[in-house]
Symmetry: C2
Subunit: 361 residues, 2 copies
């Protein structure tokens, strides 16, 4: 059976091998007689699953030992509150807005700290990278979203805050491109990612936090979201989303078999290159993002006439190309081509786009 290609922005496609393994193990994990869903989170079976997942994740992303790896819940939108609850100390925080996600982070943080807009690309409709950053001298941290899922804007390199005159730790929301490129941890204080784009099922949030940043939560921070409590309890203070952690672990093992993050980055460059090159040379489709910060993961594009959108989507569905509709705030189309999307899926999409343009162009 050939499965359709699923371009959903998240929850998103998972590797077929991973789904097949999960189905095969559903009633009996490794002779335990239990589904992973049925295991006590404190039993030795689940603890081995959790520990292996953390070991593989640390290896894949080369996470330094002075970072905690936390398995949390609530996704990126919950972290928009949880990060300032833990790191802001109620002081100044700098935000760089490059699209919807960082704009939401900025807005939510105002509940807990003096959130300062250090730079924004709102004037160009979130299509370029803001060039002038006005950083506070005494910010508790600087927040950026390193890949804007909706607007398709991606940092190709992490900002070097020291070179910009700031000693503050950098916080990155890397939900929608984690594990598609390496992370320069020397520039990062905290990274978070909802799992449902490039890692596994919705309901799991990964947090990587430098040890020295933990232990300063505001008094109103719920215990279950205090990084210190979570770290001290090895992400077992509250019952973790055990099945989502298991699925993420299967994805980590799949990533290792594919050549790890370096393998994924090479594949992503090829896939995104193919799609952007076609769009740019088509004379039909348009992507509005500055070429210097186009996302390798989320490719928004527009047809010459919105009246053709429904016809484009219906034809795509007929060819097994699913979930290509753009976000309502941007319109048009969006192809999310995460790690689990094979090159063949992008080739099939480009083939269909070519055919559609020839028929309607």
């Amino acid at each position: 059976m050939t499965r359709p290609y699923n371009f959903s922005a998240g929850p998103a496609a998972l590797p077929q091998e991973v789904l097949e393994q999960a189905a095969a193990e559903m009633l009996d994990w490794h002779g335990s007689g239990m589904s992973v869903m049925e295991m006590s989170h404190r039993g030795r079976e689940f603890m081995s699953i959790r520990d292996q997942a953390e070991t593989d994740l640390r290896e894949l992303l080369a996470v330094p030992s002075h970072f905690h790896v936390l398995f949390m819940q609530g996704g990126g939108l919950a972290e928009n509150a949880i990060v300032p609850l833990n790191l802001s100390r109620g002081g100044n925080v700098d935000f760089v807005v490059t699209g919807s996600w960082s704009a939401k982070s900025f807005k939510e943080a105002r509940r807990y700290c003096n959130a300062h807009l250090a730079a924004s690309n709102e004037a160009d409709g979130h299509t370029g990278m803001p060039d002038r950053w006005q950083l506070n001298g005494n910010a508790a941290y600087v927040h950026v979203c390193t890949n804007e899922t909706i607007h398709g804007v991606e940092f190709q390199e992490l900002p070097d805050l020291k070179a910009l005159g700031s000693d503050a730790p950098l916080v990155i929301d890397c939900s929608s491109h984690i594990a598609s490129r390496p992370i320069d941890w020397s520039r990062v204080g905290l990274a978070f990612a909802g799992a449902q784009k490039n890692i596994g099922p919705a309901g799991l949030t990964l947090v990587f936090v430098r040890e020295d940043l933990v232990g300063h939560a505001l008094g109103v921070c719920p215990s279950a979201f205090d990084y210190k409590t979570v770290a001290e309890n090895h992400s077992m203070y509250n019952t973790p989303p055990t099945y989502a952690i298991y699925m993420a672990g299967l994805v980590f093992q799949w990533l290792k078999r594919q050549g790890g993050v370096a393998g994924m980055e090479a594949r992503s460059i090829e896939k995104a290159g193919l799609l952007y090159d076609y769009i740019d040379t088509s004379g039909y489709y348009v992507n509005k993002v500055d070429k210097r910060c186009r996302s390798r993961m989320n490719v928004p594009f527009f047809l010459p006439d919105d009246a053709l959108n429904d016809s484009f989507l219906a034809g795509a569905r007929d060819r097994g190309l699913l979930q290509l509709k753009g976000h309502k705030s941007v319109g048009g189309m969006r192809a999310s081509i995460y790690n689990a999307m094979p090159l063949a899926g992008v080739q099939a999409l480009v083939g269909y786009m070519r055919e559609f343009a020839a028929r309607h162009g």
Copy 2:
């Protein structure tokens, strides 16, 4: 294949039929070409899953239309903060402590309100129901845990606060016995339950809240945990734990096939009766909880000598009776016999207990 009987307190056993259906649908849900894990939470496929789950849950528990049903994350320990963040208005709140869980709720709430200990059974080691409640005249709400998973203490009837002279809404943490007995909603303002005991996988929290109690969150309440935001967005403000909702939905359909909550209650009375009757007449095993408030779901029991515990557990494992070790704070054994535990599992346990007592008694 006969699966072992899994007595885990949570995450806990799920019905075999449900796991089989999930395995069969893992790669292709209803011809969609997608796993449920891969679906956009805003797409029509997942929306139909979510809506059906809510409809079935409302029907099973006879939830009145003036209650919101919310699908949230973070489990009971997160709700220990989220409830006072939403309902306390920073004022007085009454807590009735009947075991570890309500004690934790009481402690966490102090961050947000004037938490008052209205009654406690700590003096008798959490084995009875405290008889004298000292309720505040002006409490924002009264919190009880209607089934204490660790101590095995269960309210056989919800307290009638009006009869006790309080006009405050009652908040119940019913995590570990939801869907095993009806809920008298006329006595309830809010009910919450982590899913991982009687509903589905860990990572999903169910919240039922009377409409008039929503919209009063403290300013420091994260948007993702503000009941108003969650309700207005039909639990889609942040990406919900989609797969856990799907699994819960399969459990709801299974519950309906078993005769619903009434069917479950009859089965629970039979299962718990069998186990307690044997314990009480064995002259070997002991359960210390007052018979008037013994839990039908969680049955802690003790051997005459703790030195025999390891031998008991090893023999149980050999007979396919899993996860019977008691919570470390109580010791001894604990059999959690939730909805998914068939009568045959309890019969097998009693058979083994009888055999062990005969050999060692």
